[in-house]
């Protein structure tokens, strides 16, 4: 900096001896590996912040309507399949564990461990989506998908099913508002599922690279940051599950 003219005229001083000094995976515009890792990490956290704002819009809508149409939200929530929902929560938490295991394996350079953890995470992700698809199918059969196919009749005239007593009937006007609940249910879980699908896509790419021996040279920023993303998607579900499935379940 002391001599600006020199900066302008000296040609190609930066590269010749560059590669010897730093590991091959260090990008040229970073001064050190430490800076590179800190930067990508910071970027990932910032991205997750935007994701919070993204879901935040829907959480706001949820809170408002839940306050307005509480009986409809309770009744509609009770039609969700709590067993599948709980199972999915378990699946997702387990997948977060296997993902964390994967990051640890990458840190400690255990190739087999990394590959198997990623495979486990991958499978658990698919299981989550499968269960979710089954739940969506159930909603479709029950006419609970918002739109022209929607019907709130089951809330006005509830029927007792095998062993379970019938739910308290809702007045037709309140029953109609279950559509707002299901709108939010599909929007929120749908957006969450979309994040899962994107995550699984990236995961399979990472798995493919891991089987070829990648991430064993200490360059594990990608694995770490993907781990952050995966945990974030998990945490969103941890909020969605009680808000959508567990409204007034204690009776």
């Amino acid at each position: 900096m002391s001599d600006s003219q020199a900066v302008a005229t000296t040609v190609d001083a930066g590269h010749a001896g560059g590669h010897a000094a730093h590991p091959p995976y260090q990008r040229h515009h970073f001064v050190s590996m430490e800076q590179q890792n800190e930067t990508t990490n910071f970027g990932m956290w910032l991205f997750l912040l935007t994701e919070i704002m993204f879901f935040g819009g829907m959480f706001t809508a949820y809170l408002i309507y839940r306050n307005w149409y509480y009986p409809a939200f309770v009744a509609a929530s009770h039609t969700l399949n709590i067993i599948e929902g709980t199972a999915n929560t378990g699946v997702l938490i387990t997948s977060s564990f296997t993902m964390a295991l994967g990051v640890w394996c990458a840190e400690t350079k255990r190739r087999k461990g990394l590959v198997w953890s990623l495979i486990a995470t991958f499978i658990l992700g698919l299981v989550f989506l499968g269960i979710k698809a089954d739940e969506y199918h159930e909603k479709w059969v029950l006419h609970h998908v918002p739109g022209t196919y929607f019907s709130a009749q089951a809330f006005v005239h509830p029927t007792a099913e095998d062993g379970k007593p019938a739910e308290k009937p809702l007045a037709p006007d309140m029953a109609a508002h279950t559509e707002v609940y299901f709108s939010l249910y599909f929007a929120m879980t749908g957006m969450h599922a979309l994040h899962m699908i994107i995550g699984i896509g990236i995961l399979s790419f990472m798995l493919f690279r891991a089987t070829r021996g990648a991430y064993m040279d200490g360059n594990i920023a990608f694995v770490e940051n993907f781990g952050l993303y995966w945990h974030f998607v998990d945490i969103i579900w941890i909020f969605l599950f009680p808000l959508l499935y567990l409204i007034s379940r204690y009776s």
Binding site: Y69, P71, L170, A171, P172, D173, M174, A176
Partner: protein, 359 residues
């Protein structure tokens, strides 16, 4: 001069009709204008100040005159000055503006109520005395008038620039504005919220009449059925009076004098009964159950148009005893048995019961 006659005409037209603000035709207009004038003056002073600083410094300190700049860090005192003075002025405008806002949107209790329904792309005004107007509004001067607005499709905005009032007509909820016209004449009525293809065609005229002319207009334009009367017929044809009849064994609460009173709902919540409450109670009865009554009222969502709801609200508003309810009840009981569900068709056979949407 080569000035084309068209441009000349324009200039003449403009200069002869030159105005910066529309006519002041309501009691609020001069109040709004006073603040506008104050703000304009403050803005002009600010603008001239900034302009003079830039121009003055540019002349005094251009490179020819002042080849070497003197470096100055800043000055806390000066910066505090131009933080605090604008802040103070803005706060004055805030307080003044807020006082004005509350005044413009808080109708006096004796205001005469006119309902306006916005739809793509027209304004429908419903006078309590039964006059219907489209894209027009006739009002008396010197009387505070409250407009209760609702939209039956998209957002609209009911704006009368000469009165300096404006309010959005929102689907699904009532909004209100009020004004007291001072000068007879005709004024623009605009829809100012973009509402689709013919948005710019959703304009009309507000005609302010002297009190005598207004009486004349009322007499000439009456449809013969007041809003409340229309509401009464709807009340009967929708079989509301089957429950809301004020009898000791009635399944619904008595509606006499309910308007303006305080109710306790079955949820324990206390509410003030106003137009918005009545409308909601008809459409979403289950969240508006009066304490002590069973939630048995069906919803009328999709069965009554906004005009019909207005008639019902107006009817209930004016209901001071259950005598009329029981009267109508007695006459309907004489009619052949008809299920409540066919209320729509029943309404259609009675020509005056406007507002029941046909299924």
């Amino acid at each position: 001069m080569g000035l084309s006659p068209v441009i000349w005409q324009f200039l003449v037209k403009w200069l002869t009709n030159f105005a910066v603000i529309p006519p002041e035709a309501s009691t609020q207009a001069p109040q709004v204008d006073a603040l506008l004038v104050f703000m304009t003056l403050v803005s002009l002073v600010g603008l001239v100040l900034v302009g003079m600083l830039i121009a003055g410094f540019s002349i005094l300190y251009n490179k020819d005159r002042n080849p070497v700049a003197t470096q100055i860090e800043g000055s806390t005192l000066l910066e505090a000055t131009w933080t605090i003075i604008p802040l103070g002025l803005f706060l004055v405008m805030f307080v003044w503006g807020s006082v004005l806002y509350f005044r413009i949107y808080t109708p006096p209790p004796n205001a005469m109520n006119i309902y306006v329904v916005g739809k793509q792309w027209m304004w429908k005004a419903e006078h309590p005395t039964g006059q219907h107007e489209i894209d027009a509004l006739h009002i008396p001067a010197g009387v505070p008038i409250q407009i209760t607005l609702i939209s039956q499709d998209v957002f609209h905005s009911f704006s009368i620039p000469a009165f300096r009032v404006k309010r959005e007509a929102i689907p699904g909820r009532y909004t209100t504005e009020w004004f007291e016209a001072t000068t007879p004449g005709t004024y623009h009525l605009f829809c100012t919220q973009y509402c689709g293809t013919e948005h710019s065609g959703m304009i009309g005229e507000v005609t302010v009449l002297t009190k005598d002319d207004y009486k004349k207009w009322l007499a000439e334009s009456t449809s013969g059925v007041s809003l409340a009367q229309n509401g009464e017929r709807l009340f009967a044809s929708l079989s509301c009076n089957a429950c809301h009849n004020g009898r000791p064994d009635a399944r619904g609460p008595s509606l006499a004098d309910v308007y303006g009173s305080k109710l306790t709902l079955s949820t324990g919540q206390a509410v003030q009964v106003d137009d918005a409450y009545l409308r909601q109670a008809i459409l979403n009865p289950s969240s508006h159950i009066t304490q002590g009554y069973a939630p048995i009222m069906p919803t009328y969502q999709g069965q009554v148009s906004e005009e019909g709801l207005i008639s019902l609200v107006e009817y209930i508003k004016n209901l001071s005893s259950n005598y009329r309810v029981q009267q109508t009840l007695n006459t309907t009981e004489l009619l052949p048995e008809q299920p409540a569900r066919s209320a729509g068709q029943a309404g259609a056979t009675q020509p005056a019961s406007q507002g029941v949407t046909k299924p």
